[in-house]
Symmetry: C2
Subunit: 742 residues, 2 copies
C-alpha cells in the first residue's frame, strides 16, 4: 500500500507539472491539461480487475495452483518480452502478417504487464507497459486508415475495424490497471492521443459497424463503453449501450436483446457463440462494477449468464457441438469460456462451474479468477457440472426453432431444428448428432477449414466448405433429389425456420419433435427422436423417426455419418470392391465414394461398428424399395482437404411418402490390453414400423425374446390416446408409451 | 500371526487323523496317507509370493496406493464370486466357449483368493479356495482328453494343452499360498488327484509339446517345474529344467538358450515376446527362491532380465513396436509386463523400472509388487526409463540380423532387419517405423485381426492378414515386380536372414545399415538410416537411403505408410478424382486404391501431413522416371476388415539399379484451441543425391539458405575416407560426415 500511495502522490505532482506547462515532450504539447481532469487513481483498476481485490490477490496469489500458475505464465511471457526491444511498427500488413501479429502481441503484453504490476506491486511491469503505451499514443495520431482493407470495414492498426475494437478492449483494461502508477502527464497523453481518438474512431468513425447488431458491433461497444467507464466519459458509455443516436435501436442493450434467444442461444451456433461471448461478458462485468444501478446481469432475465450457461450445455466431452461452420477442436477450455466461467462464478458462486474450471485448468488474473482457483482448491469432492436435457430456442423471441439436447446416462442426442444461423449456417434442418460419453458417434463434419494452417489456403474456409461441409448430404439430415435444402441458398433459408413441436419426457423416455415445411418446396417432413431408457438394453436406445410427405414423387435420402470401423452388417450386399465411383454429381454427393449397397433380407438392416473401445449398432427399418448406400468421403478432392470418414445413406426412390425409422444402440467393450471383448453385438434383433392415423408404432424385438411396441402420438393432446392394433388397443396419456409385447 | 500358527497346528492335527485312517470323506479313501509326506507349511508360500514377506505385506498393504488398489480389486472380484455358487463344469467347449471360460475364471479366482488369504490372514478366502480346488481334485481323475482338439495338442480341461499348462501355473501358485491353511487330508487329495496327475499329463502325457523349444514348452515347463518345487518333487523340477530325458536338449534351460538372442530379443517380435515372457519370469522367480544355487537370473549372462528390458525398449509411448502379427493395443501395461517389471525390480531395485510401473498403474500381489508400490510412492522425483538407441540382434547366437532402434529427442527410428520370426513373421525385411514422441508416424499395419471380437470371424486372424498385413507392400519395405519378399513363403524366408552391417554413432548422427540378398533372387539391396541432429532443423532429420542392385531389370516399389491428413504436396499431380481402381492385382496391391500419381518438377517431391497436432514432411529425391503413387487402403475388402489408412509408393519401372533417398522432418504445431499454428511447412527445401564408388552423397538444402552434404561410406574402414566432388574433396573418419556447403 505504501508504494501505491507514493505513486499517487507522484501522479499529483506530475499533474502539477503538466498544469504548469513545463512538460518537455513535444508530442504532448497539443493536449491541453485542462481536458484531462485528475482521476481518483485509487479507485482503479475497476473493470475485470478491481482495486478492492488487489490486497487479497497479492496475499493469496501463491496459495492456489491454478492462479499461481496463470500468474507465473504471465510473468514468464512478459519477462521475456521485457528483456528485448519491442517493435511498434507502422500498420501495413493484413491478417497474419507481421504488423498485424505484432500489434496483437503488444496489446496482450501491455494487458499482462499491467495486470502483473497491479497484483504484485512490481513497478518494473508498469513502467514498461506505460512506456510502450506511450509509444502507441505517439504513433496513433499519424495512423491513417489501414492500407489493406479491400473487403472489410477498415481499421487503423489492423485491416479490419473488428481487430481494432479487440485491441482497445485489452488496452483499456491495461490502462485501467496502470492508472495508479501513471503520471498525470502520461494519463493525459494516452487518453487524449490514443484512447479517446481510438474510441471515437470505433464509434463515430466506424458508424456502420458500431451500429450493427452483430458480434462485430459488440466488440466495438465493449471497447468504447469500457473506455468511457475508465475515462468517466458518460457519452461514450451511453453510445456503447444505446447506439450512436442514443435511441437504443443499436448498441450493447440491443445486442443483448437481439443476438441471443431467450434461452441464451446465439443463432450462429455454439462455435460462434463462444467467440461472440467474450465482449458481452467483459463489458457486462465492467458495467456491473461501475454502473451497478444498470443491473446489467439482471437485464433481459439474466441473458448474459444464460448465454454463458448455454455455451456450456451446448458441448460434450469438453467440445462444442460442431454445428454450422465449426472448428471441431474448440471447446470449454478456450479463453472466451475461461472469462465466461470466472465472471459467472464471481457473480453466482455456483459450484457447478468449478467443474468447468477444473477442465479448463486456467483462470483469469482477477478477483473472479482467484475465487475460482481458491474454491476449486478447497473443494473436498470432485465437482460436476449438471449437463442435462435442454431445449435452446432460437431467435430473439424464441420462436425460430431451436437446438434440443436429450441426455440420459452416457447418451446425448443433439437435434438441430434451428434457424439458418446466417452466413456460417449449414443446410441441415432436422439433422442430429449423437454422443456416447465424450465420443461423437453420429457425427457432424463441422467446417472444411484448417484454421490458421497456411498451406491449406492460408487457413481460410476451403472450397469444400461450400461443396461439402455446408451441403445437406454432409449432415444427418433429409435430402430430396440429391439437392440441398433451400437449394443451398442462405437468403431463402433465412426466411423460414423449422418448428419444434414437442420437447417432453415421461417415465423412461424423452422426446423431441420438429417439422420443416420450406426446405424443399411442396414437401413437409417431421422428425422425432425418442431416447428410451427402460428397454432392458445396456444403454439407452435412440429411436429416430422421420416422415416425409411430398406433393410430387421424388428421391429421398437420409445420410448417417459415423466414425470408426465397420464390424458387421446384415442384409444383401452388392459392394464395389475393385472400382469406386462417386455417389452423385453435385451438392456434396460428388465427394462421396459409393462403396456399394445393402438391401434388407427381412425388412431390417443392421450396421455395426467399433469406435475407440465401444460398439455401436444401427438397426434400420428397410421396407421394400429402400436401400442403403455405404459411402466414404474423399472423391473429387484435388487438394486432399477432406477427412476420410465413413457414412451410409438410406434411400427411397420416386415416392411421395417416405418413412425412415431406426434404433441406435451403444454396447459392449473392446479391451485389447486385457484381452477381452464384451457384447460385440447389440441387444436389438430387428425393428418394424406401422402407422395408424397420426400414430406411429415402432416394434422393437430384442434378441433376448423381449419385444416392445413404442407408440408415438404425433399430435399432442391432454387426454388419452388410443390406437387399435391387431394385438388389441393401446391406450395411454402423453406423447409416447412403451408397451411390452410379451 | 496367531491365526497362522493356529492353522498350522490344525494342519498337523488333521495330518494325524488322515494317518490314522479316520478320515470320513469317501473321495479321499483312495489316497494312501503315506504317499503325502507332511509339508513344512510355514515355509510356504514360496513361489512369487513368499512366506517371509507376508508380515510386511499385511502391515503395509494399505500404505501404498498401487498395492492397496490391486488388493481391493482382487477382493471385489473374489467377494463377488464367493457370494454365488461356482460352477466346475465337465470340460466340453473349445476356446471362447462356456466351459473354457469357466475353468480360466476359476483358476484366476483360486489364485486371487489364495493370495488374499495369505496377505490378509482372512481364512474365509482360503476355505473357499480350498473347497473349490477340492472339487477340481474330485473331478480330475474322470476327465479324459478334451473332445475338441482337432488341430491342437490336446488338453484335458481345455481344448489345447497350452491352456492346461497356463491353468496349472496359476493353480500351483494358489496351492502354494493355501498350504498354511490346508489340512493334510486336503493336501493329499489335491496333490495326488490333481497336481501330480496334471503335471504328469503336461510332461510325460504331452511329450511333444513339453519337449518343444517354443513358448508352449515354456508354459509347460513352468507349470511342471513349479509343481515340483512346491511338492518337493525333484524329478518334476529336473524334467522342467532339462526335458523329459534330462539331457538338456529341451526344457527351460534350452528354451532360455534358444528362444532369445543374446540381447534378449525373441524372434517372433515384441508382441509375442510379451506373451512368451510370463512363464519365463514366473518360473525363474520361483527357481531363484527355491533353488538359489542354480543362479537362474545369472544364467546366460542374465538372459531373463535382458528379455524383460528388451521388451521395454521395444516399445514407444507405452505400446510395443507392432512388428509381425501384432495387435496394436498391446504394450507395457499388459499383465505379462507387470509381472516382468515387478520381478525385475525385486531383483535389481533399478529405479528406471518405476517409470514403467507408474505407466502400468498396477502391481502384482507379492513382495516384489509391494516394493514397487512403496518405492514409487516414496519417490520424490518423477521416474524416467532410459529409452535409448539399441541394437537387438536376432537368433540364439545373435547372428540372424536384428531390430535396430535409433532414438534422439522425440524421434525414434525402428529398423527391422531380423529373421523371419516363424509363422507370425511378416515379409518386411529392411522395413521401418518412425515415431515422433508417442505417435507412430511412419506406420506398420500390424496384424489384420480384431482380437476376441466375435463378429470378426470369432476374433481369429482374418483373411486380410495373409492378403494384406503380411505382404511386403503393407510395410515400408522394398517390393520387386509387385511381389512380396520370398514370394510370401515362410519356409524359404526362414532359411536366410538380413545382415546388419553397421550400427554406429558420431557427433550429431546415428547410423544403421543392413543388407538383404535373398528376399528377391538375383537382387541385392541395402538400406541405411541416418538420424541427424545438427542440421539446424527443429527436430532430428531421418535420412533414408535404399540401394537396389539386380541382375535383371525389374519394377521396384518402396511404400511409405503414414497416418494423418495430407496438408500439401509438390510435384506434378495426376489424380484419380472421380474414379478409383486398385493399384495392382495381388500380393496386397489389390487392397490399395490408387488415388493418383506425382512426378517431380525438380528432382524432389514433398508430401506433408498433419497428425494429431504436429506436421510431418517427407522430401523424396525423385529422379527422372521415378514416380510416386498416392494410395488408400480398402479395396477388395468385402468384410470391411481393413482400416482406412493412407500411403504412398515411390516407384521405379524396369531398372537394374534403383536408389531411394528421402529425408523426413517433424515440425511445428497446430493448436486449434488457442488458435495458432507454428511452422506448418518444414525446413528442408529439397534434397539431391549422387554417388562416387562406395560413397553416397546426399545434398540437403534448407529454406533458410543453409545447405549440407551428408557423405555416407558404405564400407566401414578405420582410417580416413576421401571423396572427390565437383566442389572439392571431402575427408573424414567414421561412417558419416555432414559438411556444410556454405
Amino acid at each position: 500500500m505504501n508504494k501505491l500511495v507514493s505513486n499517487v502522490l507522484l501522479g499529483v505532482a506530475l499533474t502539477f507539472v503538466v498544469a504548469c506547462g513545463q512538460d518537455t515532450t513535444t508530442e504532448q504539447t497539443k493536449v491541453k491539461a485542462s481536458e484531462a481532469a485528475p482521476v481518483d487513481v485509487q479507485a482503479h483498476p475497476n473493470l475485470l480487475l478491481a482495486a478492492k481485490d488487489l490486497p487479497t490477490l497479492k496475499t493469496e496469489a501463491a496459495n492456489y495452483p491454478l492462479f499461481s500458475r496463470a500468474l507465473n505464465a504471465a510473468k514468464t511471457t512478459v519477462d521475456e518480452a521485457m528483456a528485448a526491444p519491442v517493435d511498434v511498427p507502422f500498420p501495413k500488413d493484413p491478417g497474419g502478417g507481421y504488423t498485424h501479429e505484432q500489434h496483437k502481441k503488444n496489446a496482450l503484453l501491455m494487458y499482462q504487464a499491467a495486470t502483473l504490476s497491479a497484483i504484485t506491486g512490481d513497478t518494473a511491469y508498469s513502467d514498461w507497459a506505460i512506456a510502450l503505451m506511450k509509444r502507441y499514443a505517439e504513433l496513433y495520431p499519424s495512423v491513417p486508415l489501414h492500407p489493406e482493407h479491400k473487403h472489410q470495414a477498415p481499421g487503423k492498426l489492423f485491416w479490419q475495424v473488428l481487430n481494432d475494437a479487440w485491441w482497445l478492449v485489452y488496452i483499456i483494461q491495461a490502462y485501467d490497471a496502470l492508472l495508479p502508477q501513471m503520471s498525470q502527464a502520461d494519463q493525459t497523453l494516452i487518453s487524449q492521443q490514443l484512447l479517446l481518438p481510438h474510441a471515437n474512431f470505433l464509434s463515430e468513425g466506424s458508424a456502420e459497424t458500431f451500429n450493427k447488431v452483430h458480434n462485430h458491433g459488440t466488440w466495438a461497444a465493449a471497447a468504447v463503453g469500457m473506455t468511457g467507464l475508465v475515462l468517466k466519459d458518460d457519452h461514450l458509455v451511453n453510445i456503447a449501450l444505446r447506439g450512436l443516436d442514443g435511441s437504443g435501436a443499436s448498441g450493447f442493450l440491443a445486442q443483448l436483446d437481439q443476438l441471443f434467444s431467450p434461452d441464451g442461444y446465439y443463432t450462429e451456433g455454439p462455435y460462434y457463440q463462444r467467440y461472440a461471448l467474450l465482449p458481452f461478458v467483459v463489458f457486462a462485468r465492467a458495467l456491473e462494477r461501475n454502473k451497478p444501478e444498470l443491473g446489467i446481469f439482471e437485464y433481459r432475465d439474466g441473458i448474459v449468464l444464460k448465454a454463458i450457461y448455454a455455451s456450456i450445455q451446448l458441448s460434450n466431452g469438453g467440445l462444442f457441438f460442431p454445428l454450422n461452420d465449426a472448428i471441431k477442436d474448440k471447446g470449454l477450455d478456450t479463453i472466451e469460456m475461461v472469462f465466461g466461467v470466472d465472471v459467472a462464478y464471481g457473480l453466482t458462486g455456483d459450484k457447478d462451474l468449478l467443474a468447468i474450471a477444473q477442465y479448463q485448468q486456467q483462470v483469469t488474473l482477477n478477483g473472479d479468477g482467484l475465487a475460482v482457483a481458491r474454491d476449486l482448491h478447497q473443494l473436498a469432492a470432485t465437482p460436476a457440472f449438471s449437463f442435462g436435457s435442454k431445449l435452446f430456442r432460437d431467435g430473439p423471441a424464441g420462436d425460430q426453432g431451436g437446438v434440443a439436447i436429450l441426455r440420459s446416462n452416457n447418451a446425448t442426442v443433439v437435434f438441430k431444428a434451428a434457424s439458418q444461423g446466417m452466413g456460417h449456417g449449414h443446410f441441415d434442418r432436422l439433422g442430429w448428432i449423437y454422443y456416447d460419453g465424450a465420443n461423437e458417434i453420429v457425427s457432424d463434419y463441422g467446417a472444411a477449414r484448417y484454421l490458421n494452417v497456411e498451406p491449406k489456403r492460408g487457413g481460410i474456409y476451403l472450397p469444400e466448405n461450400d461443396t461439402w461441409a455446408k451441403q445437406t448430404v454432409a449432415h444427418n439430415a433429409l435430402v430430396r433429389n440429391e439437392e440441398s435444402q433451400f437449394s443451398g441458398d442462405v437468403k431463402a433459408a433465412s426466411k423460414h425456420n423449422p418448428e419444434i413441436t414437442r420437447f417432453t419426457r415421461g417415465d423412461g423416455w424423452q422426446l423431441v419433435s420438429a417439422t420443416e415445411s420450406h426446405a424443399y418446396p411442396g414437401t413437409e417432413f417431421d422428425r422425432t427422436f425418442v431416447l428410451l431408457d427402460n428397454l432392458g438394453t445396456e444403454a439407452p436406445v435412440v429411436l429416430d423417426l422421420l416422415r416425409v410427405d411430398a406433393n410430387e414423387a421424388a428421391n429421398f435420402d437420409l445420410p448417417f455419418h459415423y466414425q470408426g470401423q465397420l464390424m458387421f452388417h446384415t442384409g444383401k450386399a452388392n459392394l464395389a470392391l475393385d472400382a469406386l465411383k462417386p455417389l452423385g454429381k453435385a451438392n456434396g454427393y460428388q465427394h462421396l465414394w459409393n462403396k456399394g449397397e445393402l438391401v434388407a433380407e427381412k425388412n431390417t438392416v443392421q450396421v455395426s461398428w467399433l469406435q475407440r473401445n465401444r460398439f455401436y449398432t444401427l438397426t434400420q427399418w428397410m421396407p421394400e424399395k429402400s436401400r442403403m448406400a455405404l459411402t466414404e468421403l474423399g472423391a473429387n478432392d484435388p487438394e486432399f482437404n477432406l477427412r476420410r470418414e465413413a457414412g451410409l445413406v438410406v434411400r427411397y426412390a420416386k415416392t411421395k411418402q417416405a418413412t425412415f425409422v431406426s434404433a441406435l444402440e451403444s454396447h459392449g467393450e473392446y479391451n485389447g490390453v486385457r484381452e477381452y471383448t464384451l457384447a460385440p453385438r447389440g441387444d436389438i434383433g430387428d425393428i418394424g414400423y406401422s402407422s395408424v392415423g397420426d400414430y406411429s408404432l415402432v416394434h422393437i424385438k430384442l434378441k433376448s425374446g423381449l419385444a416392445y411396441t413404442v407408440a408415438i402420438a404425433h399430435v399432442a393432446q391432454d387426454g388419452e390416446h388410443t390406437v387399435n392394433t391387431a394385438e388389441g388397443a393401446i391406450t395411454w396419456t402423453g406423447d409416447v408409451t412403451v408397451v411390452p409385447n410379451n
